[in-house]
């Protein structure tokens, strides 16, 4: 067991790798240069990882949507179509860059860049694992909301600069939608801030060591609202009014082509990844594994073992080998924090694509009604419910806050229910 120090802990693999590199360099470089290199390594890692994530999110989305629609999805370029993102990238690079006549050329090129920058900036405060955060800001959550709202400027700028009715309408819808959904998004995060007493994302993750907030009454509601508001903010189905193809051609990016168009998509996919990552951070324990001891996971295996008799023999053998391997691995060293974080994030990414494969687009009034008439009051009630949950001891607080949320959700649905229409009578029908 004489592993080099870098490989000693796969939980801290990347952290140790960076430290080893810096120690190696500090033999020749002065201190200030080492600090600079440290920054550059982190920035370089994010700048390299973010586009790679975006590329394979497009692949993942196409594959999952295809499977939901009983198709294969991309499977021609490379094994399982894994080279498809590269082919798409080459295609985008080769396309003509069209600027409409009469458009504001400067704003037209600045807008997609401005939309990608905040999306990548969000990666700076993403806690990928234990000690694996580029900048552990003590106002991390504030930074998150400040930076993510810059994207709406970019979208409006792009729509305005295109000098096209479709772009302009899409941009207006987008701004209205993003501003509306920021309110319940922020308010649902306020409950988390109140309970944890910190704005730092590392602090919030560490506060969830004993329980994930998604499994508390207020946390469940806040999680749903935060995630759905996030989905609405990044303009994804079922909230993709700004780029409703059937009404607006392409929405705010109608007049974009080639690499500029790809930048819009990059921003959208990076932001949807960020939505999933921050939902995991705030409500699903971030980089931590499930807050249960290992033997309870063994209990979960009992139904699997019971039903195994009905499986074919090869499946049983593979399953047994997998369980044995997982047990051995878990016993030797727990699953690394960054794998937990990425797994949970990609599960949420799957949910996001699953939404897209299932739900049709909302109408504009339904979209706005959901934000202002349902999410906003429920988020306010939720802050109160979080207070109750904190103030009273365990069973009372949980039950009281759950009851309060259930009743208020039911009331909100009743109050917002559309007025019943009178049955139509046809005078001349007979």
């Amino acid at each position: 067991m004489s592993l080099p120090p870098v490989l000693a802990s796969h939980d801290q693999l990347f952290v140790n790798a960076k430290r080893a590199l810096l120690e190696f360099l500090s033999r020749w470089l002065p201190d200030w240069a080492v600090i600079g290199v440290s920054m550059l390594v982190t920035i370089g890692a994010i700048a390299a990882v973010a586009p790679a994530i975006m590329m394979y999110l497009t692949w993942l989305e196409r594959k999952i949507i295809a499977r939901i629609q009983n198709r294969f999805g991309p499977d021609r370029v490379g094994v399982y179509g894994l080279m498809q993102p590269l082919a798409d990238g080459l295609k985008m690079l080769n396309k003509e860059d069209i600027v409409p006549r009469g458009a504001d050329a400067l704003l037209h090129i600045a807008a997609p860049i401005l939309s990608v920058v905040p999306a990548i900036l969000l990666f700076a405060i993403m806690p990928f694992g234990r000690n694996m955060i580029a900048a552990d800001l003590n106002v991390g959550l504030l930074y998150l909301f400040a930076v993510s709202s810059v994207g709406s400027y970019a979208i409006f700028m792009g729509g305005w600069a295109s000098r096209s009715k479709f772009s302009f309408l899409g941009a207006m819808r987008s701004v209205a939608q993003i501003i509306s959904y920021e309110v319940p998004g922020v308010l649902s995060a306020v409950a988390v801030i109140m309970v944890t007493g910190t704005l730092s994302l590392v602090g919030i993750v560490e506060a969830q060591e004993s329980r994930w907030f998604a499994f508390t009454p207020w946390g469940f509601v806040a999680c749903l609202m935060f995630f759905l508001s996030g989905v609405a903010e990044v303009n994804r189905t079922p909230f993709d009014m700004p780029e409703a193809e059937s009404e607006l051609v392409g929405g705010f990016h109608t007049e974009y082509s080639g690499m500029k168009f790809a930048l819009w998509y990059m921003a959208e996919f990076l932001e949807s990844f960020a939505v999933c990552a921050f939902t995991v951070t705030l409500f699903f324990g971030g980089w931590q594994g499930p807050p249960v001891p290992f033997w309870t996971l063994g209990l979960l295996l009992i139904p699997v073992v019971v039903t195994a008799g009905r499986l074919p023999v090869p499946a049983r053998a593979v399953g047994a080998a997998a369980v044995l391997g997982a047990t051995v691995l878990w016993g030797v060293q727990p699953i690394p924090s960054w794998i937990w974080f990425l797994t949970k994030t990609y599960v949420l990414v799957f949910v996001l694509v699953w939404f897209r494969g299932t739900l049709p687009r909302l109408r504009v009034d339904q979209l706005m009604g959901l934000a202002w008439k349902f999410f906003l009051p429920l988020a306010l009630v939720n802050i109160f419910a979080a207070g109750i949950w904190m103030w009273f001891p365990f069973p009372v607080g949980t039950a009281a806050s759950a009851l309060l949320l259930l009743v208020s959700a039911w009331l909100l649905v009743r109050v917002n229910a559309p007025a019943p229409m009178h049955p139509r009578t046809y005078i001349l029908a007979d």
Partner: protein, 206 residues
């Protein structure tokens, strides 16, 4: 009235999840174990590797039928199909004439010198097959005919169009059977006599 808020959304999402899982073999096993319907499965036919089984009556471009050897083609160059073709894609030169201008006969019938079908114009309407009194032209089911040349490769000449009656029987057994029966009925009374082949075939009375 729904039991809880968002019930319809959850129901729809479970449906799509079932379709998603049902596209994987292991997922189908899982769904069967749970006693759930397995969904529709993958519909896609990966075209160049797999091909769809098309119906016997599927048709594309016409071809000329010959009996036995390519010289023994059924077409007598009567030019009815050329007249009837709506997009006028058939071009026939013939029949072959001797020095006095009388049509030459081979195996007891006249034959075309040239028979061209421009497949870039043909609309696969099958009218040529319907009007042919000799059952000399039939519809093929080959569809992988893409080419780079508009005039050279897509203009099918007589050599390219000629296909045997066995081929016709293979691709369209039912239709070929009725055609063969009709042709046998039209044959002269003494089918086993060797002179029968020298007799010109009678056009159908109908």
């Amino acid at each position: 009235m729904s039991l809880f808020i968002g019930q319809g959304v959850l129901k729809g999402m479970l449906l799509t999840l079932r379709e998603f899982i049902g596209t994987y073999p292991a997922g189908r096993v899982l769904l069967r174990m749970l006693g759930r319907p397995v969904g529709s499965g993958l519909f896609t036919v990966s075209y160049p590797e797999q091909k769809q089984q098309h119906s016997e009556r599927f048709r594309y471009f016409p071809f000329l039928v010959y009996d036995g050897t390519p010289e023994n083609l059924r077409c007598v160059s009567c030019k009815i199909c050329e007249q009837e073709c709506p997009p006028q894609c058939i071009h026939i030169v013939g029949p072959e004439k001797d020095a006095q201008g009388r049509p030459l006969k081979k195996n007891g019938r006249t034959y075309p010198v040239e028979f061209d079908i421009d497949t870039s114009i043909c609309m696969s309407c099958r009218i040529c097959v319907d009007v042919c009194p000799f059952d000399a032209i039939e519809m093929d089911n080959q569809y992988e005919l893409s080419s780079t040349g508009r005039f050279n490769e897509m203009l099918f000449d007589k050599e390219k169009l000629l296909k045997s009656n066995e081929y016709f029987q293979k691709i369209k057994p039912t239709e070929a059977k009725t055609v063969d029966q009709r042709l046998a009925a039209k044959k002269p009374k003494a089918p086993e006599a060797p002179a029968a082949a020298a007799q010109p075939p009678q056009p159908p009375s109908a």
